[in-house]
Amino acid sequence: MRLGGRSRTRLVNAVLSWIDKPRKVPRDMLRGSEEKLLVQLRSGDEAAFSTLFDELNSRLYRLARTFTFSSALAEDIVQETWLAVIRGLRGFEGRSSVRTWIFSILVRRARTMSAREKRRGGVVVHSGLPEDGSGVEWEPGGGRVGLWEESPKPWHLDDPASVLQSRELIEVLERALESLPELQRQVVLLRDVEDVPSKEVCNVLDISETNQRVLLHRGRARVRKALDRFLRDESGTLAPPPLWSNEARARAATSRPVTTAPPDAPEPAHKRGL
């Protein structure tokens, strides 16, 4: 089963080398200038508050929507969060980043407000149950169960940045993210989309590191599956997305689908009666 091919080694090395590198462009402009920002805010600098608002408001709304189907309630949650930020700025002790502090406030507000709304009879809280009809979730030690049934076929995609120039692919990612169970979505949103450090994600959502790892793996796996579905046509072959490079197209044309299952992978879920 060992390939030993230079191309696979090169590809794996490329993946690992990317992982080791810090992101070139920070996800937000707050980092590195937080002390200055806090001084400005506490001195009543309206431009600084406006900058903070522009930087975070849409992201707070996206996080709020993970707690509720109601756009109106999500807007209320965001507004209440901002009001709490204004009230709390003087007392903020800097134990986390400003952004993480604000996300934490939002999560607390969202939990309280969505629970209150639920008690009133509004159906606004996500169920937390798998929404794709599958009852099988990946578990540590479970191998590929809950992750893939047939061996994954290479996508032959190059840079995600260029792929994301495709509106369709962005929508696939957005929809996949939105369809995740509540806590999975919150973890993936904070960790992968917002790049909040792992420990801070645990603090914001009040979950253990182990739980976070499992939720993250499950969430990413579901998003991967959605991408995989999109990239294949009905016959099971890889459909070229709009922005494939010529090189990738050539590789796709000459590659053979992989049909071999991992040697020590457990039986597929349906064969084990799951």
Binding site: V12, F53, Y61, Q79, L83, P152, L164, L173, D264
Partner: protein
């Protein structure tokens, strides 16, 4: 290293926090095992793509109220 162990470690590998004593075995496995290697690449790709999702701007109709509260809370200080 078997597939189940490699899959368990993929999250840490993607985060760049794989324990040093596991790195070599993990690398060997994902290089040698086609399904795990492909899955790992796709999982990494997925994470990178999520990190690049564009933000949707969302105008707030309540901005004026917030600015009013901000001015009330901090207005006049150091001015």
């Amino acid at each position: 290293m078997n597939c189940a162990r490699a899959i368990d470690l993929m999250g840490d590998a993607i985060e760049g926090c794989l324990a040093a004593n596991l790195e070599e075995d993990f690398r060997e496995h994902v290089e040698a095992c086609i399904p795990c290697g492909t899955y790992f690449e796709q999982l990494s790709f997925t994470r990178r793509a999520l990190a690049l999702l564009p933000r949707r701007s969302r105008p707030s109709g309540r901005w004026n109220e917030l600015m009013k509260r901000f001015k009330r809370e901090f207005g006049g200080e150091d001015r």
